[in-house]
C-alpha cells in the first residue's frame, strides 16, 4: 500500500508537468484546429532560457530562492510567450487560409528549426541547472518520503492551471477566446478581433509550456535540446485523452496520464509503461471518441 501511494505521488508530479504542456496544445487546437508540433520545443526553449537567466543574473542570490524563482518564472514565461507569437506570425499566419495540412507541415518544420537552433546556440551536450538553488527537503507524510520540490512542482502547475481557467471563464478576453474557439466567423461578426485572440492564445500556451520547461529544469536538473520531443508527445497524448480543445480536459488528461504511467510501471511492467498508457488512451477513445471531457467532434489530423 505504501508503494501504491509513493507511486501515486511520482505519477502526480509527472502528470502536473504533462498537464501544463498539454494546455498549450489544447488552446491552440481549440482556436485554430492546428496541432502545434513545435510546442514541445517551446518547452525546451523555456528550460534553456531559465538556465541562462538563472546563471547570468543570479536572481536567487539577490532575492532569495522563492522570489528569485518567481521572477525568473515570470521572465521565462514572457520570453517564451513572445517566441510563441513570433512562431505564429512566421510559420502559421501566412498559412491561415491554406489547407490545414500545410500548417501541420509548417509546425513540424518549426519544431526541427527550433531544435537545431537550440543545439547550435547551446551545443549538443547536456546542460545542468546549478544545484541547491531550491532547498532539497524531504517531507514525511504517513511514512511516505516526498521531496518538497515535487510538492512545489505539483502546486505550481495546479495554481497556473486554475489561474488560466479563471482567466478563460471570467474575463472578457477569456470570453473572446472561447467565442473564437466556438466559431471564428461568428466571432468576427460579433466584433471580436480574432487575430488578436490568436495572438493571445499563442502567448499563453507557450508561456505555460516555458514555465513547465523551467520546472523540469529546476526539478530534474538536466536539460538537453531533444527533451521537448518526448514531453511534447506525452502532453499531446494527454490533451487527446482529456479531449483536445478543452482546457479542463488537458489538466485531467495530463494528471491521469502521469498516474497511469507510474502505476503501470509499478504493477505491470516498466518496459510496457508507454504501451499501457496508450492502451488506456485507445480504450477511452473507443468509449468516448472525443476524449474524457471533449465536447466537439474530434477531427482527423
Amino acid at each position: 500500500m505504501e508503494q501504491f501511494f509513493q507511486q501515486l505521488t511520482n505519477g502526480l508530479a509527472v502528470g502536473g508537468i504533462y498537464a501544463l504542456i498539454a494546455l498549450g496544445y489544447t488552446m491552440v487546437y481549440g482556436v485554430l484546429k492546428l496541432i502545434n508540433f513545435a510546442h514541445g520545443d517551446l518547452f525546451t526553449i523555456g528550460s534553456y532560457l531559465g538556465l541562462t537567466l538563472l546563471t547570468s543574473m543570479a536572481l536567487t542570490d539577490k532575492l532569495g530562492p522563492f522570489f528569485g524563482i518567481l521572477l525568473l518564472a515570470v521572465m521565462v514565461m514572457i520570453l517564451v510567450g513572445i517566441v510563441g507569437i513570433l512562431l505564429d506570425q512566421v510559420a502559421y499566419r501566412p498559412l491561415r487560409e491554406s489547407p490545414r495540412l500545410s500548417a501541420v507541415v509548417s509546425a513540424l518544420g518549426a519544431s526541427i528549426f527550433f531544435q537545431n537552433t537550440i543545439m547550435l546556440i547551446y551545443g549538443a551536450s547536456f546542460h545542468v541547472y546549478p544545484q541547491n538553488i531550491l532547498p532539497r527537503m524531504v517531507v514525511n507524510v504517513f511514512g511516505l518520503h516526498i521531496p518538497m520540490i515535487r510538492i512545489l512542482v505539483l502546486l505550481a502547475s495546479v495554481v497556473m492551471m486554475l489561474a488560466l481557467y479563471t482567466f478563460i471563464q471570467k474575463t472578457t478576453i477569456g470570453t473572446a477566446i472561447r467565442a473564437a474557439a466556438e466559431d471564428q466567423g461568428a466571432a468576427k461578426l460579433m466584433g471580436i478581433d480574432v487575430n488578436g485572440v490568436i495572438m493571445i492564445v499563442f502567448f499563453i500556451g507557450p508561456a505555460l509550456g516555458g514555465a513547465a520547461g523551467l520546472m523540469v529544469g529546476l526539478y530534474y536538473g538536466q536539460v538537453n535540446f531533444t527533451m521537448g520531443w518526448i514531453y511534447g508527445l506525452k502532453a499531446f497524448t494527454a490533451a487527446i485523452l482529456g479531449g483536445i480543445g478543452n482546457i479542463p480536459g488537458a489538466m485531467v488528461g495530463g494528471i491521469l496520464l502521469g498516474v497511469i504511467e507510474a502505476l503501470g510501471a509499478a504493477y505491470i511492467s516498466i518496459a510496457w509503461k508507454d504501451a499501457i498508457a496508450f492502451l488506456v488512451l485507445i480504450l477511452i477513445l473507443i468509449v468516448r471518441p472525443t476524449g474524457l471531457l471533449g465536447e466537439r467532434v474530434a477531427e482527423k489530423i
Binding site: Q3, Q6, V14, H145, Q222, M227, E261, A262, A271
Partner: protein, 377 residues
C-alpha cells in the same frame, strides 16, 4: 533564347569555378559516420574533431602514399533510419573506409550497406556481440565486445560481494545484450541472485516510478547497462529518494556529463566498466595525441569512443600505407591477418578473423567525491 543564353552561360561558368577539380581522385577519402546531432551529438562531434586532427597530421607530414587524406563526415543522428541514409550517401562518395558509429543498433542498420559496396567499416562504439558474428568481411571494430564487458561486470559484482543484484537496461541492442550477458553469468555464479531485470525508456526525465519499484525488491546493488544521460538521472533521483544502494554502469555511462547530470554528491561511489579513459592511456602515442588535441581544441578528449574512432582511422590509414593500395579487399586482408600489435592510441591493436579487436581492454572505474573517474586497480 537570348535571355536564356545570358543566364545560362554565366551560370555554367560559375558552376565550373565552384565545383571541385575534376581530377579529385588524388585524395584518399575516408568516411566518418557519427551522431553529429541527436541525443549523442557530443560524442559524434568529438569523433569528427579527432579525425580532423589525425587527418591534418598525416597531410602535414606529406599525406598517405603521396595523396592527401580527406575526411567526409555524415550525420547519423544516433538513429538507425537516419544512419542508413547517411551510409547510402557515403557509398556514393568514393570512400575507401568508413569510421563509425557509436551505438550498436545504429551500426547494425548500416553494416550491409557498406558490405555490399565493399567498403571497410570500423565501428568505434558498437559493442553488441552479434555485429561481428555475421561473417562480414569488411567489418571491424576498435572497441571490445559485450561478452568481455559482461564478464568484467559480473566478476566485479561478485568481487564487491553483492548478493542481490537488480539489472536495468534500456532496450537498445547494446544495453539489452550486455544486460542479458551479465545476467547469464551472474546466475551461474554461486551466491549471487538477480532479483530484478527490466528495461527503462531512454530520453525521459522522471525515473522515480522505476526506482520505487526496484527498491521494493531490496537489491544490494543495481547494474544499469544503458547510456550516461539516464544513468545520471537515475543516480540523482535515487539519492533524492534517500536510497544509497551501490550503483554500477556499463561502458556507455563513461562520459563526464554523467557527473554533471547527477551532481557530485549523487555520482560519488558510482562504479562503471569501461575501456580506459584518454587520460589513463599510457602509450607514447596516446600522450602525444592527447597533447595535440588539447592544443587544437582547448580541452582533453572527453570520450573514449572518440579516441577509439581515432584508432579506427589510424588502423585504416596504416593498412593503406602498408598495402600501398586503396583496394578494400587488400586492406581487409591486411587488417585481418597481418596487422599485429599495431601501437594504437588505446593500446596494441590486432584483429581476429571476425574483425573483433584482440585482447583485454576493459577496466573498472569509480567516481570520487570530486566527480573524477578513478581507475580501480
Amino acid at each position: 533564347m537570348k535571355k536564356f543564353i545570358a543566364v545560362f552561360f554565366p551560370l555554367l561558368a560559375l558552376s565550373l569555378l565552384l565545383s571541385p577539380p575534376l581530377f579529385s581522385a588524388e585524395t584518399v577519402k575516408i568516411g566518418l559516420m557519427g551522431p553529429m546531432t541527436g541525443p549523442w551529438a557530443s560524442e559524434g562531434q568529438e569523433m569528427k574533431q579527432v579525425l580532423d586532427l589525425l587527418a591534418e597530421d598525416i597531410n602535414s607530414a606529406g599525406g598517405l602514399n603521396g595523396k592527401k587524406v580527406e575526411v567526409i563526415s555524415e550525420d547519423d543522428s544516433g538513429d538507425p533510419r537516419q544512419a542508413s541514409l547517411a551510409a547510402t550517401r557515403l557509398t556514393t562518395k568514393g570512400v575507401v573506409a568508413v569510421i563509425g558509429t557509436y551505438g550498436s543498433s545504429i551500426t547494425e542498420a548500416t553494416q550491409n550497406i557498406y558490405d555490399e559496396s565493399e567498403i571497410i567499416q570500423v565501428a568505434n562504439g558498437s559493442t553488441a556481440i552479434r555485429l561481428t558474428e555475421k561473417g562480414l568481411d569488411y567489418f571491424f571494430r576498435t572497441c571490445p565486445r559485450d561478452d568481455e564487458q559482461g564478464r568484467v561486470a559480473a566478476n566485479t559484482i561478485k568481487k564487491l560481494g553483492h548478493k542481490k543484484v537488480a539489472i536495468l537496461h534500456d532496450n537498445t541492442s547494446y544495453a539489452k545484450g550486455l544486460a542479458s550477458e551479465t545476467q547469464g553469468l551472474l546466475i551461474e555464479m554461486e551466491g549471487v541472485e538477480v532479483v530484478f531485470f527490466e528495461a527503462i525508456t531512454p530520453g525521459e526525465r522522471d525515473y522515480n516510478a522505476i526506482l520505487t519499484k526496484v527498491k521494493a525488491t531490496s537489491p544490494d546493488a543495481i547494474f544499469f547497462t544503458g547510456y550516461y544521460p539516464e544513468a545520471g538521472l537515475l543516480l540523482r533521483q535515487k539519492t533524492e529518494m534517500g536510497w544509497d544502494v551501490p550503483f554500477m554502469g556499463g561502458d556507455a555511462t563513461n562520459h563526464p556529463d554523467l557527473v554533471k547530470i547527477a551532481g557530485n554528491a549523487a555520482a560519488k561511489g558510482f562504479y562503471f566498466v569501461s575501456a580506459p579513459l584518454p587520460k589513463d592511456l599510457d602509450t607514447p602515442e596516446a600522450r602525444d595525441f592527447v597533447e595535440k588535441f588539447q592544443k587544437a581544441y582547448g580541452h582533453a578528449p572527453n570520450s573514449i569512443y572518440a579516441v577509439l574512432a581515432g584508432d579506427g582511422f589510424r588502423v585504416v590509414t596504416e593498412a593503406i600505407k602498408q598495402t600501398d593500395s586503396t583496394d578494400t579487399q587488400k586492406i581487409a586482408d591486411y587488417l585481418h591477418k597481418e596487422m599485429e600489435g599495431f601501437p594504437g592510441l588505446t593500446g596494441k591493436i590486432s584483429f581476429n578473423d571476425k574483425g573483433d579487436r584482440v585482447g583485454e581492454v576493459y577496466r573498472v572505474y569509480q567516481v570520487n567525491e570530486n566527480g573524477e573517474f578513478i581507475l580501480q586497480p
